[in-house]
């Protein structure tokens, strides 16, 4: 499964998944029926910004600012492919 990740696309978390911060695990997690995936710090930064309002370019800009102007575009697009492949996110219609 692949997705054409254009800058202006707005993504949302598929409602059967939930993303939340876990204090004890010290990371963001994706929760779904009887399961959990722990996210790396960068994956967590991306997933927490996917809210059905921000476009892909908004997310890239936002994260780049958070990490002192780092070039994060490629990493973000790669992760979004993974998240899409896992069925966690979709394009908001």
């Amino acid at each position: 499964m692949s997705i054409e990740l254009k800058n202006e696309i707005i993504l949302e978390i598929i409602p059967t998944f939930r993303v939340q911060w876990e204090e004890v695990q010290n990371c963001h997690v994706v929760l779904y029926p009887e399961g959990m995936v722990k996210l790396s710090q960068s994956a967590g930064e991306i997933m927490k910004r996917i809210n059905g309002k921000k476009s892909i370019i908004d997310i890239i800009t936002d994260i780049s600012i958070t990490f002192d102007g780092a070039d994060v575009k490629e990493d973000i697009l790669n992760f979004l492919e993974v998240a899409y492949g896992n069925g966690w996110i979709r394009i908001k219609q």
Binding site: Q25, N26, Y32, V37, A43, G87
Partner: protein, 388 residues
Amino acid sequence: MATVGLESNSNQSKPLWLLAELTYRCPLQCPYCSNPVEMAKYKNELTTEDWIRVMQQARKMGATQLGFSGGEPLVRKDLEDLIKEARRLGYYTNLITSGVGMDEARIVAFKEAGLDHIQISFQASNEELNNYIGGSKSFQHKYEMARLVKKYEYPMVLNIVLHRKNVHQIKDILDMTIDLNADYVELASTQYYGWSRINIDQLLPTKEQLENAELVAREYQEKMKDKMKIIYVIPDYFENRPKKCMNGWGNIFLTIAPDGSALPCHAAGQLPGLEFPNVRDHGIEWIWDESPDFNKFRGTSWMKEPCKSCDEKHKDLGGCRCQAYMLTGDAENADPVCDKSPFHETLQNDVMRIDKLSGKKDFESKPLIFRNMKNSKNFTDKKTAEPI
């Protein structure tokens, strides 16, 4: 539970999965139920306040997944309150149910309380066999409830326990789950604990049945990928290496039985030498970190040969302690599913015995022992020292 981390940041064990067995009362009588055969002994269910305290303590330790199970959890009148509190605490809340005792009003109330997911069990793909196996006229109702679960936009898991009496229906079962628009389907082969162990002669599928079932399951997995996730588990009696049971003893799973006994797995109640710490007397933190029970088979230091020197011991942690106890009389032995176990051959011979007798009229006509309080009481009264 899958814990496939993109990054794992801790190797210290935490009770990530809290299974709340709210009650052993159940309107169904499935002869493969994983509840203890001696369930009639369990009285004095925990109160709402007890459960809330347990949920709070486990959540504080990092538990994220909470399963409301049983028996039939819908029997508990305080289920809505428990869901509400669980959700407030930040759990992902799973209701594991037969669907009997549910109606549209309750599905709505659960949604309002914040329930995340509903799993409904079916016993077969048609009314006659479903109702026979479940010992209850429940098929139509289950079907209707599954439709409503999707109507109210819950993610839905359909769970069908497979065994010799229904495995031939696998294609119809999968067609049914497609018709019901399930998100996940668990085709869970009976594991032989509790009631299924005493009914093993009637339930163990033949090798031929399993091979056919696996082909169909693979075909549907391919056909439905991207739409529905189908999980197919073969009975481990047919394997040569054991399962990493519960992902390791006292590693991520915490089961609380209806009377408040804390267990590293829902079948562990049968093991001798355990003290069964109760949540009425102890906090979850002590139970998990300090109690002798939860440390008894943690890691690998308790192992005997052939596990002790085995280079695969970290892969499966010696398999299942309950299975080792049931089939060898010693919970510290290797799970006899492993072909390195000296008891493996005995297990294989038993599987072959059943395989040969299957289909023969006399053998098939032996009655199933249904899971109900009357049979449990009979069984508990008659129980000898022999492990079941």
